[in-house]
């Protein structure tokens, strides 16, 4: 029993490696394990509820940082990075005694464990009264990760508990605070696109709306351009949000939109699917009864497969298919590759600044309605194409020129992975 209590004391734990390249203390590894210890269950909520809330709290930090958290119920206790437990008064071998109901509701040790005062009235999700365990857990996890108290209205790191609204999230400045310690979220994407859909208003008017989506492997994020962040709770599994298309590894999304054509396509490997945006699912077959998926070589003769990415240029009604160092310009009117293609990407889309060009093997190409511009993405960088407006302001810029590259995470913020175990919440 004494040895067990000694294990619970933070001082007895082996010293962790910590990153201090900025003179700040933080975990040096990106995947951290956690456990709600058996001796520290709350008497107020079911064990499953407690674990779910902690899992959600950790996930919320994952959604805004490169950290991932996994519940570990099997490893030896001393190997667990973050242990959580409830106690009252003198508790869990902790040096800091709880004071009973009121005032101190929890405390956490930097790079260590979290203790909750079970004399407080902790409540679960969607409960109107009491102290939200989720909000307290998010706060205390912030301490464990290295954040101090922050006396800023709206910060999750405020020391005093404020009754939360119906929901709370990590705001911009809290995100930047944690990213100062751990950096932003970086990574390649499978495809990026704006999805257009028609909606009918309450007055019967048809309006056209769009949303921006980033896909990576089997997951996707909706990006809220006006808020400079992803939708709360993302990423989501592709198979959940996009019915009928491959569950992972989509190569390209193309929206052919002319006065006479309006068709959305997903590409993967040697095949493609047409998507029914009104009913939000893939078509089972085309207008001639041919079943989807169809071969790219049949639907887009002359275009090789698999492709790296593609986008539709409304100026000339051509789809630009990218593969390796080459680009194929496909005329949707003639349904054929334009003469003179394929060409080198660097010739069709020349660098504005010598040497600053993605070259080839792109990850994604994307026309953004928000920015009214085409972007080429490769790795953690992107390049914007010269637009008509750019050329009107600076006539010396080449048509379809590629402007100098920038970091993806400085344009689209906080597109962060979460641990696999948290993806299905």
């Amino acid at each position: 029993k004494k040895r067990h209590l000694a294990m619970l004391l933070s001082k007895s734990r082996p010293r962790r490696s910590t990153g201090d390249e900025l003179g700040l203390m933080a975990f040096s590894k990106k995947v951290l394990t956690w456990r709600l210890i058996g001796e520290g269950y709350s008497s107020q909520l079911s064990i499953d509820d407690q674990k779910y809330i902690f899992k959600l709290a950790f996930r919320m930090w994952s959604e805004v940082s490169p950290l991932e958290f996994a519940e570990d119920t099997h490893s030896p206790l001393e190997e667990i990075d973050i242990k959580l437990g409830f106690g009252t008064g003198r508790h869990l071998g902790c040096a800091q005694t709880f004071d009973g109901a009121g005032q101190e509701f929890a405390h956490a040790w930097f790079l260590g464990d979290i203790h909750f005062d079970d004399d407080e009235h902790f409540t679960g999700l969607n409960a109107g009264t009491g102290i939200s365990l989720l909000k307290v857990a998010v706060h205390e996890i912030g301490h464990v990760l290295g954040l101090p108290h922050i006396y800023r209205p709206g910060s999750i790191m405020q020391p005093s508990y404020l009754p939360q609204d119906s929901s709370f999230e990590l705001d911009w400045l809290d995100r930047k605070a944690i990213q100062q310690l751990y950096g932003g979220c970086k990574g390649r994407f499978s495809t990026v696109f704006d999805w257009i859909r028609r909606e009918r208003t309450a007055y019967g008017e048809i309006v056209i709306r769009f949303n921006t989506y980033f896909m990576r492997d089997g997951w996707y994020w909706l990006y809220e351009n006006r808020s400079n962040r992803t939708r709360y709770g993302d990423p989501v599994a592709v198979r959940v949000g996009w019915h009928g298309i491959p569950a992972s590894g989509v190569d390209a999304y193309v929206h052919v939109w002319t006065w006479t054509l309006d068709a959305v396509y997903f590409f993967k490997g040697t095949r493609y699917w047409r998507y029914d945006s009104e009913n939000d699912q893939a078509y089972a077959e085309d207008s001639e009864g041919r079943k989807y998926p169809r071969l790219i070589s049949e639907g887009f003769p002359g275009v090789p497969s698999p492709i790296d990415t593609a986008f539709f240029d409304r100026r000339n009604s051509h789809i630009y298919f990218f593969k390796g160092m080459n680009v194929y310009s496909f005329d949707v009117v003639t349904n054929a590759v334009a003469s003179g293609f394929p060409q080198r990407i660097s010739e069709v889309f020349p660098a504005v600044k010598r040497g600053d060009h993605p070259g080839g093997y792109l990850d994604a190409s994307y026309f953004s309605y928000t920015h009214n511009a085409v972007f080429l993405l490769k790795g953690v960088h992107f390049w914007r194409l010269v637009s008509s407006r750019d050329r009107w302001l600076h006539p010396s810029l080449p048509r379809n020129g590629v402007l100098p590259g920038q970091q993806v995470d400085q344009q689209w913020f906080d597109i962060c992975n979460v641990h696999d175990s948290a993806l299905k919440m």
Binding site: G102, Q103, E104, P148, P159, S167, E169
Partner: protein, 152 residues
């Protein structure tokens, strides 16, 4: 198990719980400020508590508060000497002002009802020492926009 009858446990009887000692006077306020890092003391429960007369506020130099010293749970605390200790009083007022500023209260240095209420709010047990009082971001503030929709 704490007794309850409602499905959401909203009626858990909290009267049976041990309740935290409230901050009610300047002695407990001193303990609070020490505990959370506003006063430079590592062992707040052994703090040398100043005499009553030294808690005079700047606002009422001619009035002496009669503040009973509370020793419950602090058996090792020692009473201060009978001589004046303006340094400790000054430290207390400075700490109080810092707490008031960080809490968005009028910075008066007076242990008033609003300050007392703020000290008795549920809060995290981690010390506030070294906590920033304003935005911590180094990003361009124009990039920040309020999140209108917080629904997950």
């Amino acid at each position: 198990e704490k007794v309850f009858h409602s499905r959401d446990h909203a009626d858990v009887d909290m009267t049976l719980h041990h309740h935290a000692d409230l901050v009610v006077d300047k002695d407990t306020a001193w303990q609070f400020l020490s505990k959370y890092g506003f006063l430079k003391s590592d062992k707040w429960d052994e703090q040398n508590l100043p005499e009553e007369a030294e808690f005079l506020s700047d606002e009422s130099p001619d009035v002496k508060d009669t503040v009973p010293l509370i020793h419950e749970g602090t058996s090792s605390s020692r009473r201060g000497s009978e001589s004046d200790n303006p340094t400790e009083s000054s430290n207390f007022i400075s700490a109080l002002k810092e707490f008031q500023m960080m809490s968005g209260l009028p910075v008066t240095g007076v242990f008033d009802d609003a300050t007392k209420a703020a000290m008795n709010k549920p809060r995290c047990g981690v010390s506030d020492r070294g906590s920033p009082t304003g935005p911590t971001s180094t990003q361009n503030p124009t990039l920040w926009s309020p999140n209108a929709n917080r629904s997950r």
